[in-house]
Point group: C2
Chain length 333, copies 2
């Protein structure tokens, strides 16, 4: 534990900098009641904090700015919780009260909700298809020689793949193929799809083989869903245009976002600051995450991405509340 007074000063600097985006001087800090010493003393402490790597000076004769290490200390030990106010809690409650039908819609809307609460970009990942089992496989004829393989998983996810048949296959053969596929694949994992044994009908077998191949290819490509909301709010989060461009560029790459979120959650972190998450273009960003549970099992994660000087107390509260309510809503559904 850091010495009390020094900790109070660090907290004051971080809070002040988060609010004003301006380097914080000793006068401003000394004015606070919880510090209660003169500016000169504050300066002494600031020198120490700087030597220890919690603060830095943009230039001589400027105030102090937190380093990533400073933010880390802040969120680990100094942050004062800032629960959502009544209006915000009501907003969240109303949102989950009128839960929509489709999972995807709901997760997308959740990202918008979270983004609105925090004024930063929000990330929501859906259930990874890993631990789901196959509940249905069906071939549906479309026009001409095309057909659609539709696979339904136990978590409600639907994977589909378009097939181009060599010959026109009648509806009855497609039904037979569906039945054959169902017989062998129901209950299996979508990641361990195996070719199905022959059925005795060459055209059915051909259709089955194509369907399995296509579904495997599909499952490989799919990086796990992610819904990103409120990206436009990142525009005002940095004053350097180039920073904004880099961040938005990353947010466009779903697989990066999915990996980022999973990585941070797997490491047991709630907050990843600056370079901690390892995605270099997001070095000026912090990420506040929380997994969410459906019926006791972790199935996804939500997160808020903002500048390193983001408003952590609010983001932490919003992420915690939304993840809890999201899991709850999905559980009873």
């Amino acid at each position: 534990m850091m010495e009390d007074r020094r900790a109070a000063i660090l907290r004051a600097v971080v809070e002040e900098y988060i609010e004003t985006a301006q380097p914080v001087g000793s006068n401003r800090v000394a004015r606070l009641p919880e510090v209660g010493v003169s500016p000169a003393t504050v300066r002494h402490e600031m020198v120490v904090l700087e030597q220890e790597g919690y603060l830095r000076q943009p230039h001589t004769s400027a105030g102090r700015v937190p380093t990533d290490k400073g933010y880390r200390m802040f969120v680990d030990s100094l942050v004062v919780p800032d629960p959502l106010d009544a209006a915000e809690r009501h907003q969240v409650g109303a949102f989950f009260a009128e839960a929509h039908g489709a999972l995807e819609e709901m997760l997308a809307d959740t990202s918008r909700l979270l983004s609105g609460l925090t004024d930063y970009a929000a990330l929501v990942t859906g259930a990874p298809p890993d631990d789901a089992t196959i509940r249905s496989v069906q071939l549906v004829g479309l026009t001409g020689r095309t057909a659609l393989a539709v696979m339904v998983l136990s978590n409600g996810a639907v994977t589909k793949a378009r097939l181009e048949m060599a010959d026109a296959v009648g509806d009855e053969r497609l039904a037979a193929a569906s039945a054959h596929l169902s017989r062998w694949l129901l209950g299996a994992s979508p990641h361990a799809l195996q070719p199905v044994p022959p059925s005795g009908d060459a055209m059915v077998d051909a259709a089955c083989a194509q369907a399995v191949d296509a579904l495997v290819a599909e499952a490989d490509v799919e990086p796990g869903q992610v819904f990103v909301g409120g990206t436009s709010r990142m525009v005002t989060a940095f004053d350097a245009v180039e920073s904004v461009r880099k961040v938005l560029g990353i947010l466009e790459q779903q697989y990066v976002v999915v990996g980022l979120l999973r990585d941070v959650v797997d490491r047991g972190l709630t907050v990843a600051i600056g370079v901690e998450h390892g995605v270099e273009p997001l070095a000026e960003c912090s990420l506040v995450v929380s997994p969410y549970q459906v019926e006791g099992e972790t199935v996804g994660a939500i997160g808020v991405l903002g500048p390193t000087r983001m408003h952590y107390p609010k983001a932490l509260a919003a992420v915690a509340m939304v993840s809890q309510r999201l899991g709850h809503t999905l559980s009873e559904n």
Copy 2:
């Protein structure tokens, strides 16, 4: 038709301004071989062009900048086509050669392709479900009392809705419900879903009714898919941060983008400049669009959104090429 020389001057101003983003003066224009008159003469013509509303002056003693009307004249009568170069054509060819399985993936990737070609944001809409018919309706049991209604349309789209049953319904009853639904709904339009007649089994009927309700609700919400790529490129398109924020904010609202694209296409436009498309926050933007056809039928549209001073020749060429190749690829698939 505008007088030749004046047209050449207008074209020169537009091209120059698109390239440099700086007001264009008479000297620069007079230097061009296709004009071939002195700066003084150019100035005379510029006064006329300004009176007619094609140009404006940001302030006295500055060069001229095109108005929206000026851009309109440019794209209608003055634009010099700028076909894609070999490398770009190759890029497009390679992209469509390795066509992926799922339609959605492909459209999303197409938006990225188009965005990469033009360096602006790209919009791609999928097939509207209007003219498709139902090819399959199925109820799949998930865990506990939840089930998933899955509807496949003839255009390959899949609509799904999660159901919460009053009682646990066995697989055989779900299969019966699926069969019952199929009997009445196959071939129908997804927008004219009617409750199905009783089957004689109360639980089956209840499940069917729930499924129909949920699917109707789902179809209502769905505004038509749209894939937006390259939004980060808009960051550098404007120097006013507020403009960027407004544009990105609009691009986050799928239904607005879908409506915008459909509206412009329906009006038969290829280019919508400034306020022509009626979305006020995009007043500083232009949109280059093209519908695409699958087997002779228009099923969607692609578009490029950039600042009004976007590089129209390139955008027109890219949009035309990609829409043609996209339709072609989807047709033979």
